[in-house]
Symmetry: D2
């Protein structure tokens, strides 16, 4: 099988490197272009950034010549965008207009009515918004987004509960890793031995994106899920892996054991579609009293499995638990790659 050529936009950053690491070893995709800002353009990839994604340095792409981020310079039929939101807002439409399918990690277009915001295990049908998008915008390609990192982790865990029981309210406090802020990102003087109880824009994203993802596709648009989400987002001194303390109300207030039974039995709805990045069991229930932990659990399922634990009843909302996932994989690069796999498997010609 011939592999589909892909470009990584913003390839030198923290998320961009994760894209490169995943895609360099991908059975369906083949990196044909790495882009970055003008400052890095023309340099070898290994000279343009310090490799921070683990594994083999530069994933074999050390000698790629970095190109400037524009459809004229760095193009492929499938594009992964690790651009910052303001840059993404300008450049991603140019790619979509040029015929590329952009799988974007940026927040710029996530909440646009005609842009699918995907967690493939939760709302694969939302992919159909692309038709509407193309019609409205007269694009030959398109933009499909993955959610904010914390939202991706939370909704992966909520999806089977929402389907089985119906979620009625979610109250969440996140403890987020520093890699979520990119590089150089957070100053060591701010975060070493500290907690920063605020991440700009994050709580709003968690509240609005969750409703869209768990919403219902009806007549070419998404009806947001009707339950309230209330979030507090904090930064802690952890490298990778966002933890979320979740309290929630489920319809009918099922007992804890029934909830656990649902999650333990939950097999990915994508499990039989052969998507390389999709874990068979997207949610892993840990039994130990002191799990999940970022250091021990973020890498589960190559970063795509969300670990949950400490299910117990909550005197206020009925149920509470902890969820944890890898912010750069399930929450960013892995999420976008899985979106692209979903798209390809859906038979949409790339």
């Amino acid at each position: 099988m011939e592999r589909i050529g892909v470009a990584v936009l913003g390839a030198t950053g923290i998320v961009g490197q994760r894209f490169v690491a995943r895609l360099a070893a991908h059975p369906q995709f083949e990196i044909v272009s790495l882009s970055a800002s003008g400052r890095s353009a023309g340099m070898k990839y290994k000279e343009a950034c310090t490799w921070r994604a683990g594994g083999r340095p530069y994933a074999g792409c050390e000698n790629f010549i970095v190109e400037e981020t524009s459809p004229e310079r760095a193009w492929a039929p499938v594009v992964f965008s690790a651009l910052d939101a303001p840059v993404a807002a300008e450049i991603e439409p140019l790619y979509a207009a040029s015929g590329a399918l952009v799988f974007s990690n940026a927040s710029a277009y996530r909440m646009q009515e005609d842009v699918p915001l995907l967690v493939p295990e939760a709302n694969p049908d939302h992919l159909a918004l692309l038709d509407e998008q193309r019609r409205r915008r007269r694009w030959r390609g398109g933009i499909a987004c993955n959610p904010n990192c914390t939202t991706a982790i939370l909704t992966t865990a909520l999806a089977p509960l929402h389907r089985t029981f119906g979620v009625e309210a979610v109250l969440a406090t996140s403890l987020q890793a520093i890699s979520g802020a990119g590089y150089p990102g957070v100053s060591a003087l701010d975060i070493s031995g500290n907690v920063i109880p605020f991440i700009r824009g994050e709580e709003e994203k968690l509240e609005t994106e969750t409703a869209k993802i768990l919403g219902t596709l009806l007549g070419g648009r998404v009806e947001p899920a009707p339950f309230p989400v209330s979030a507090t987002c904090t930064r802690v001194s952890v490298r990778d892996g966002h933890s979320v303390s979740v309290s929630l109300r489920l319809r009918g207030d099922p007992p804890v054991e029934e909830v656990l039974g649902c999650l333990r039995a939950y097999r990915s709805p994508l499990a039989d579609r052969g998507l390389p990045t999709a874990p068979e069991y997207p949610v892993r229930v840990l039994e130990e009293a002191d799990r999940p932990q970022p250091l021990l659990d973020a890498e589960a399922g190559d970063g795509m499995t969300v670990s949950v634990g400490r299910f117990r009843s909550c005197g206020i909302l009925g149920l509470k638990f902890l969820a944890l996932g890898h912010n750069l994989e399930r929450g960013a690069a892995g999420a976008a790659v899985l979106n692209a796999e979903l798209y390809v498997s859906a038979g949409v010609p790339a």
Copy 2:
């Protein structure tokens, strides 16, 4: 004015050292005895432990000879106990029986019906339980407890809100410092760059102690406050200072600005009693978007002020905010010293 002799039980530990630091400079108390386990007895204080409480090492007590913890060896009319719960369970009654007033940081007796569990700004009247305690137990002295560290911080912030509006439900996720686990306490391999989403017994303490503290003294016993508290307690890589993400329902669902007005105007009910350890404003409202933070705010008011911030409406319970306090001061040593000051100022002869 003659100072009252005091003993510190468990003086070599993290909390014990904080007691020594506070009491060495106290205008009403004078350290006459420092005790520790048999292993340290007979040694000079400076040889029995490494000083970790900042300021002048050993607070001038470096040459005190450490005594074994027993009323025969290490006695004073006022005793501060930094003992572990199992040891406290055995030894504190011996002190109370011998006529000493024990101000205990241990959890052993906190929830006993006839033991006052005090946050002086919140429930100074609960001190009256001592009469009942003495009658029942035929002790000449007595035991008065301060709450668990996180509870102390939370209830200090809740007290004015409960008084003014009435609390109806509290949902809290804590991010607790490593010093809360004592020394050696938490392994660096467990917590460096990690979050541990479980602290044994902590959530139950937060839930039950809060109800007792904010409860009503009626006929010689405390009627617990009737609202539910639901807690998730986590450990983060912070040295000192527990953060708490709080969501709560207040009676009548007052607007955020009204809540802020209440807290900004809140002056300590103890403010005119001249208690050296009592801050005039026990709750400090921070206006910055990214506060309170352990590194910047734990030391406020010499560790006795609770910092709060990020007040905003919560789509589920009505209100949410962040609270932060010093777990070893407002949450332990400072709390017990303030309890003793309350007791002395109440005219109870020591």
Copy 3:
């Protein structure tokens, strides 16, 4: 090819887990027994410890029943010992007497005259001490040691320089990771945001073991290398990977470029013997100004490659550089496994 049965002694600790991870995937060895102290004996491996070695949890050995550490209970012809020194001092000879070949990470026998202290790239011929050992001690098996973690890293880097130029003096300051102290090991209160400028016994080990490893085998004994080593060993807040700041005098005071040329050209003397754990290039010269770093370089060569950098002239001893290696792999488990591979490849029947 049939795999040789191996036992791991002390399999639940930090180093023991690394042994399990390496050996579970080893083409020549097959784990037949995992041992621990009596407390864990009888438990499943996954219940006896929390897995901290990364990769697949418990490396597939989760259901092994842990046995008590004794030749009667937990035996195999090849034994890897991750025991603490005092326990190793008692138990390893029992294994050696029983016919097992013990590859020990413990310090107990390292400096014994008839025990080989091996860095296979540096002194493979020292393996011959086993003959002397067996004759003297009337053991059917034997004990072969790997050095202290920092020594292993330092001598791997020094070996080619000593062979090519001759080392005349080494002055080293180490910055060692917390995993070197085992679990629970170092208290978070001691090391978070701190440096501890002392590790008991470490400097002596670095000074004496280096001389033995780089010494000469003559007439059945090792003549220590004649150059002085002076060490200062510190602990820093790093998870894995010991850094060493090295100043040294080489015979003839060769220019920096000549030293770099020697190291860049250095191919492992074991490279053609097919040892699975031996990197072809045991010493990796980094060109970046700010390398090697624990986070970026400790995992090189699956933890068996020592990274060096910042070569420059030293106004006092002539040359200085930084070296870094994985303390649990090149410095412990990987080292012992490589020793065993050397032994097997030497044709010694196990």
Copy 4:
């Protein structure tokens, strides 16, 4: 006594805040102006920066209006400069020309032949270079520098040894705190759980500045101390406090006990001059095996005392030990304030 008006240039940075904290409580000086870059000019001090210097926030200067850094806007007869080197290079001479005495923490002029580079306990006589400086440059004021932070700490410890025995060679490896890089300075992704074995320009400063400070003033110029210094400078995950592992050769190779005797008996040569910032004993010998440590010892003497420990013989240079000091106090703000006190006490009219 009337206090001398002082200005702090670069008052919003990490070192600038330390200046403000020290000077706000200073008996001889009175802050009359705080300056920063144009971006902050016109703002209240408390709005122009987040306070990170501990103690009372903004040290009482919260409502000072920050002025732009220029002799026209922010002037005083005594000026403390916390400017970055390139800015200092341009602006400090303007102040000196305008008649101000600039006590600079910047590196711009440290190695200029006619600029005193002062550690008041080591080389108070070098202050006389100011005469030469004024003559040559036709300045009414002048510039006097304190050394690089690590150099200040090292030379404070070396000064009594050099005077008593004569230093013949120094080999040092530093483990430096993140606050040394200013704010935002080091990215948390770079340093959390890591060591960075390189700090640009630092080793050269340590080597050249040490020679100038311990050099001899002869005929209006400083003859550098003739011994070689060889340095390796690393960054570790510590907030405040630089550690230095020092090996040195002393003339006559005195025994360790004699060296310790010298340091224990060392009283500051400034002790009787009443300088508020000068500790009576600038070097504190710690006896514990595992000291000095940044967390426990950096604050000694209000940050002006250098702690030393672990004196033992070195097989190569004769002696080795550890030194530790506060990089922002003895190494920056405190150092410059002490320089100004020396200047004032020398009777030079300000």
